[in-house]
Assembly symmetry: C2
Homo-oligomer: 527 residues x 2
């Protein structure tokens, strides 16, 4: 039983306060914040403002951000080379808990994740977030500017941490006690990059659905188009078929875990057989079956992606994610991240055609591996030695980054360091979150405290919240055995609790002991 940590009381959430409202609540604080701008003197750092102003990019999906507690918002421009810079913000709450935290980014943006700053600042963390070296959601900034690529690969976040810690110290008048990281997707990769290459930056790193093996992931993201062709190709699968395919996947695999509940608890056990949907002779333009060519397309989507000379590029899409993945990957059109990465970071050729991506392209990208963005170093010795803790999680229904890749990294660390799981447990734990989509959402008990939207259960219990769990691990040595996820009815707390489930750390598998009570967390065991 993990004890309640009453010293980490969450501040009350301000109901729908706007930025301006939040900022205006405390004149003395506002003044102190304003005066900070003049007092900061850090090489390469220019403070843009330290008060009231808003900084939002029209290309980023954050037109405004509600804040949940009083804080000083510092916006900075930090040069990272003669031809590159980052935009950095530090959110410094008045109810500081003595801790530092960096947020991360997503996709190939370019966007400070304000919601994560607001969420972590609400706990009292001195929180920072950067734009990852360029603005907006496109990768065109990489074009003929490797320094922008370097920012994206590692430098933006590390720089933000170094600067942010100084800003925090300047504001509070003393250094932080412990430092944390919270991110998902590209943010998950940034967390692993920090653990691999900047082991002193954090005491605790939460890396969700990491975009690790980045070049290979990006090739994989683009290879669906080469499988399916465009919407007029005979190999293309109409979007209307994906719900049918999803149901067939559930028919074949949902029951393997002992209960048919729409959640494939461990999709690695699901070897989907798309031939089950083969159209029989004379079925004409049937809308609930697949032609032979379409069957082969679907089989390829759910098969590991191999490249030149027998090398694995990236594991298969895990089955179960297709209701969302169809709109990202199976549309018959290029996936923008792949297009941008190859055009602007790999080939510096804006006319490179994503319709003709080949395994040779994939090999080239993996070999070029700009600034080691691959983030696949399995030696975490330095991080382990300094006492760092790494908590990785991955939704088992992730439509963007196949969850099959996360155990692959964990196992890679195991063999690279020569440590079985019982030793890795000391500093590295990886949780498989059944029924979670990409970082958030899904039919499972996906609310584990990974984001503001994913905070649920008892806000004081580390068992229900991975950010609190990480603090307990770093500061009290209480390592999380399981992570309890919460599922509300229609994901709406006011409608009441649907169920909870304890998610197991790898390599344990969630095993149903009492099928009649499958919606009770204790009806399952990690085996």
């Amino acid at each position: 039983m993990v004890p309640r940590l009453t010293s980490w009381l969450l501040p009350a959430v301000l109901p729908c306060a706007t930025l301006t409202q939040a900022w205006s609540t405390n004149y003395n604080l506002t003044e102190k914040c304003s005066s900070l701008a003049a007092s900061i003197s850090i090489p390469d750092v220019t403070v843009n403002f330290a008060q009231f102003a808003t900084y939002n990019l029209s290309t980023c999906p954050y037109p405004y951000q509600v804040v949940f507690n009083d804080l000083c918002r510092v916006a900075m421009r930090v040069a990272t080379s003669r031809r590159s810079e980052i935009t950095l913000e530090a959110w410094l709450p008045t109810n500081w808990n003595g801790r530092f935290l960096s947020t991360g980014n997503g996709g190939i943006s370019g966007c400070i994740q304000y919601i994560d700053l607001a969420y972590t600042a609400s706990f009292g963390f001195a929180s920072v977030g950067a734009n990852n070296g360029h603005n907006g959601t496109s990768g065109i900034s990489f074009y003929e500017n490797p320094d922008v690529v370097a920012d994206f690969a590692y430098r933006s976040m590390h720089t933000g941490v170094v600067v942010g810690k100084k800003v925090s110290e300047a504001f509070y008048g003393k250094a932080h006690n412990t430092s944390y990281y919270l991110g998902c997707s590209t943010g998950g990769r940034q967390g692993l990059k920090s653990v691999q290459d900047f082991p002193e930056d954090f005491d605790g790193v939460i890396a969700g659905a990491p975009a690790a093996a980045f070049n290979n992931l990006t090739s994989w993201s683009g290879h669906f188009l080469t499988i399916l062709g465009n919407a007029t190709s005979p190999t293309f699968v109409p979007l209307s078929m994906w719900p049918v395919i999803h149901q067939e996947i559930l028919d074949q695999c949902d029951g393997i875990d002992g209960v048919v509940d729409g959640i494939i608890e461990d999709p690695t056990l699901c070897q989907f057989r798309p031939e089950a949907l083969q159209c029989p002779p004379g079925s004409g333009n049937s809308t609930n079956c697949l032609t032979s060519l379409q069957v082969l397309s679907v089989r390829q989507i759910f098969s590991d992606y191999y490249g030149v000379d027998g090398a694995l590029i990236y594991p298969r899409m895990q089955p179960g994610s297709e209701l969302i993945a169809q709109f990202l990957y199976y549309t018959g059109t290029p996936f923008p991240y792949t297009t941008d990465w190859f055009r602007y970071a790999i080939y510096n050729n804006p006319s490179w055609d994503p319709n003709h991506l080949t395994v040779q392209d994939a090999a080239h990208a993996a070999h070029k591996n700009p600034f080691d963005i691959e983030t696949w170093n399995g030696d975490l010795s330095a991080f382990k030695s300094r006492g760092g803790k790494l908590l990785q999680y991955h939704g088992q229904q992730d439509p963007v980054i196949s969850s099959d890749n996360s155990p692959r990294y964990y196992d890679h660390v195991s063999t690279t360091m020569g440590l079985p799981y019982s030793y890795l447990d000391d500093f590295y734990r990886f949780f498989r979150i059944s029924g979670m989509g990409h970082c958030t959402g899904g039919p499972g008990a996906w609310q584990i405290g990974q984001t503001y939207g994913g905070a649920a259960g008892n806000p004081l219990l580390p068992q229900d919240n991975i950010l609190l769990a990480m603090m307990a691990w770093v500061e009290q040595g209480i390592a999380p055995e399981t992570v309890t996820g919460t599922k509300y009815i229609n994901d709406t707390p006011s409608l009441g609790l649907n169920f909870t489930r304890n998610h197991c750390r790898y390599p344990f598998r969630n095993t149903l002991i009492d099928p009649a009570r499958y919606q009770e967390a204790d009806a399952w065991e990690c085996k």
Copy 2:
């Protein structure tokens, strides 16, 4: 309920009768058999003898063969080209059941399978078996003689069938009513080859553990050496570790089917994690764990084998077979079939080195594909149209030919012909035999009537014997829904029955309904 077929009474088995004893039981028969030699006139056929003599090769594993009923044994030499010939035998029982049957071969031999002739002749089949175009268990006969390769790929068996039917008619004075095939391993491939390319040869074909995708299979058989290296390599896994690995595989996967009984009912659900055996630091020369390099070797063994440009060569070794496979594939020495095939059939270079097999070699072999030995044609229309029936089976613990390849062929037929399983069921059924090794043996209920040694249960019941089941399918239209396997205690009938299990036809999966009664066949359902 499949009815008893009392017209197919098995003859009494002669207790340990030697060939000579068997032959001497009927003088008139002996004379009729002898006189046959002079009366046969078939182009290219020379009758060596038709009486008493024994024909055995010292290089073949059959120094003698007990026969179980009176029969006329005809030994022939049949020219297949100006520089190739086959040795053919026809065993013509006195209690002829009006049916013709051809047996097959194994490995890359070269050996008439006398035990199969004796088994099928005991049912009353006019049975034939050939030496597959060369003598002995080596492939050296292929060297610079493509006609010998052609015999091995397709011609020996087809020739034996054409000649054998004539010999049978000459002996009995009338043509057979129906014709069958029974074979496993290379014999399984020969069965598929017949279905694909000689659809008129048989009414019913039983193809066990087929060596289909033959060139790729042969590359796969050789690639274990390139993974493991020789016995002094740091990547080599000591043979003493394989029982430990086997137990870990069972620990991870045996319970997935609902019962821990040493049998992984469906190994496709087993995604083995060898990192579980990673040696911890300081374990020195431990004998029950694996170094990192050994872990990677084991992972590769249980991963699909991919080659150039993302092409699958052959699926992974299915987990569970390692107690036997270790002595075939994991020894740190070349696998003879691979060596011979590449030296004498692919490269015509006796110094080709199996230690340096590459994916390019595999691609070259697959491309050269002598006489379409690959046997991967998925269009079985002609066989279907003439009313032929194909029964495929594959042991799910096969240490020689991974059982993962058989559903792959079935699915390939499904998409090639555009037929879902419910349509394939009309003429093609594939049964997955849990706990069966390569064609025979294993901890499961592996006795399904596939060989003399695999005949068990009620010898009159098609449900218990696939040869009887095939007759019922062809002649009465009663298709097998399941195949019931028998397991005796220690595989010794006199010790009594251990258990029976109904094996499901693909794509159905055997699913445990009543765990307490898992040794009862009806505790499982095909779902």
